[in-house]
Symmetry: C2
Subunit: 408 residues, 2 copies
């Protein structure tokens, strides 16, 4: 393997269509009753290297199965991704598969490519039949409207209960030239850290092989999309896509791989944290970091258990420095440690150390918990170097309201 090179990553405009070679369009086809944008088409000028990460849920939606099959058939290439929001096309039987396939063949006809060159995603309510008579004409219209500069609309067209669109782009400057990485994602509910979360789209104009793009996508997702949680729920439709147009002419070899990964990580982290910030009912972004574990896997399990604890999430919502709930969550995570060696911090304020409470600074911790961005740390004191961070949000009455009334 060759030496890696120096590079810089800088913010850029344009979101998912920032990288050269990509166009998008967004429109309302009639699935969302509100009249909001509910279809997004993302396309490249030709069929290009592509990769995907999909839900581990056994109840995979039809579009997930169709996209995975298409990526296999093309050995990791795609021309376009067609997406509808407002209906997940999940648990919809053979009709659902037929509809997902029709979406890809309609887009293929409009773009003059093969159906297997088109990937498909759906998001919204589970178990509702897709109104394919509205979707298919919409795909034709979307294909005719493809253009650069529609990145902002693309980000809005994939939203369901998301309170704001999530979009990001960067330029990566290397000695071999400059390439761009862009992306958009939607999240909100059914967000569980154990996989590629909800819908995410990453684009780059770097020139990269399908295998290397797949490797970089998995590596980028591990500590971003796969390290967040809103409610511990793994969806039927979670999909994360990457496409590489090669239009920058910058060929990614082993030496430039870290530059590609850095670009993907930057955009992925920005989008993933946006999903948590915009989680259903969320008012705070919380980073839960576990250190001093025997392994990174142990640290991740402890951090995840804390990040998914209803009692921790409600305490943070109420700005209550209730470190006892953090210790209790760690204690039921299944990871072994000695309570007498544990340290718990909110920000840099120690609340529990050497088996003893330190509530003398609880007021300061409470002030930190009233902020919008919060850091919680637990050191397990096992002598190991295992560490991990999971991002989560607080749990509010608004989450209950949204999910008790979602369909009604």
């Amino acid at each position: 393997m060759s030496e890696s090179v120096e590079f810089t990553v800088a913010p850029a405009e344009g979101g998912v269509t920032c990288p050269e070679g990509f166009t998008s369009s967004a429109l309302h086809v009639g699935i969302k009753k509100s009249g909001a944008l509910d279809m997004m088409l993302l396309a490249c000028d030709t069929s290009v290297p592509a990769a995907g990460l999909f839900t581990t849920n056994l109840a995979r939606a039809a579009p997930v199965l169709v996209s995975r099959e298409h990526l296999e058939r093309t050995s990791g290439h795609a021309r376009a991704i067609v997406t509808n929001s407002g209906c997940a096309n999940a648990c919809t039987g053979t009709d659902g598969f037929e509809h997902a396939r029709l979406m890809t063949s309609e887009a293929a006809a409009a773009l003059a490519c093969r159906p297997e060159d088109v990937l498909v995603a759906s998001t919204g309510v589970i178990g509702v039949k897709l109104d394919i008579t509205r979707v298919l004409p919409g795909i034709r219209t979307a294909a005719a409207a493809l253009a650069r500069g529609h990145g902002a609309d693309a980000a809005r067209a994939i939203m369901t209960t998301d309170p704001f669109p999530k979009s990001c782009a960067v330029t990566v400057t290397t000695p071999a030239g400059t390439f761009r990485v862009g992306g958009t994602a939607k999240g909100s509910g059914m967000i569980e850290p154990d996989m590629a979360t909800m819908l995410g789209y990453l684009t780059t104009d770097a020139d990269v092989s399908p295998a290397m793009l797949d490797r970089a996508l998995r590596a980028a997702a591990r500590d971003t999309f796969n390290a967040i949680t809103v409610d511990g729920e793994c969806s039927t439709n979670d999909s994360l896509f990457a496409m590489a147009s090669g239009a920058s002419g910058v060929r990614i070899d082993d030496a430039l791989y870290p530059a590609l990964l850095a670009g993907l990580l930057h955009v992925s982290r920005d989008l993933a944290l946006g999903i948590v910030r915009g989680g259903e009912g969320a008012t705070k972004l919380v980073a839960v970091t576990a250190t001093g574990a025997a392994s990174d896997d142990d640290a991740r399990r402890v951090a995840r258990t804390i990040a998914n604890s209803l009692l921790v999430k409600t305490a943070i919502h109420g700005a209550d420095p209730n470190w006892g709930r953090i210790v209790a969550s760690a204690g039921r995570s299944g990871i072994r440690f000695d309570l007498g060696s544990v340290t718990v911090r909110v920000g840099d304020i120690v609340l529990f150390e050497d088996g003893l409470p330190h509530d003398e600074r609880a007021d300061e911790a409470e002030a930190l918990l009233r902020q919008e961005s919060i850091a919680i740390a637990i050191d397990l004191g096992t002598g190991g170097a295992g560490t991990a961070t999971i991002w989560t949000c607080d749990l509010s009455a608004e989450y209950v309201r949204i999910n008790g009334e979602y369909r009604t």
Copy 2:
């Protein structure tokens, strides 16, 4: 093993002190600021067979460790159980252990027995130092006030955020004579099905060996206290105790074991369901039953994942027959099944079958979901006979309010 005999189980009055040989007292010693009862002493006339099930949380509270040690030292005997509410005495370091030990030695001195004949339990906020100067005189007062007929006060004295006390008793009539089983429990928050949940006390005047009492306690807990969830949180203090006075003179042998188990099961189920009904913010009791699994363990895992799903619990709160969330939860449970063979029911109404939605009866399902007691069933269609029921409650904004403001 001898043949089992016929028996009948009938409701009785008196709660935890219904069985002969038991007395209790309850008082306010000053831990709860509200002035409510916060100490309970339960005693038997002599040291009798006793058993305990304790939290699997690694961060076990001092009273849990002391009670476990005492049961080991006495080979399963106890004279009394002393309990305070309002402070969990958990994560309180060596002082916490000293306090738990002082509670047992003070009770032992008052009752003229050995400290190891006394078990101890605490419930309330984690990480707060126990005000032992108020607790110890309280124990003396409590010991002096022991009497039968205080079962109702005993049930109130162990409450924290519980909206109502939980108490139950039965008489079990067998050819060998009649014995009684009584009990009380407290729950509300930090309720997770994977172990003896929160504080529970079972008494019987059957004459039973420590080993058989332990066996019966584990068997009774498995499908009652260990089959409920409020918020998926396993506490630092969960303890379930059983004591057998032998005062009825009915000796439990293998033939009478089913009668003892039936009595314990009746009382345990009543108390466990009371904990769910009285879960923090709960408005509905929900039985989640999984059938058609390859094994009972598989069925339990699927039922538990559904019962702990925030999206399922909020949908039930909003009376939304959103079966898609039930299927999605089952799908992420880690158990393998074929989506095309799954059936989902609310009450007797089929909402999903053979991979297809059946929303034509959604209105009837919604009406069922507006009731206070709800049955949800999922058949996995694997051809196996594995089955399990987990009881849970809905998730309301009130849960968030209670747990966002618990300490403040």
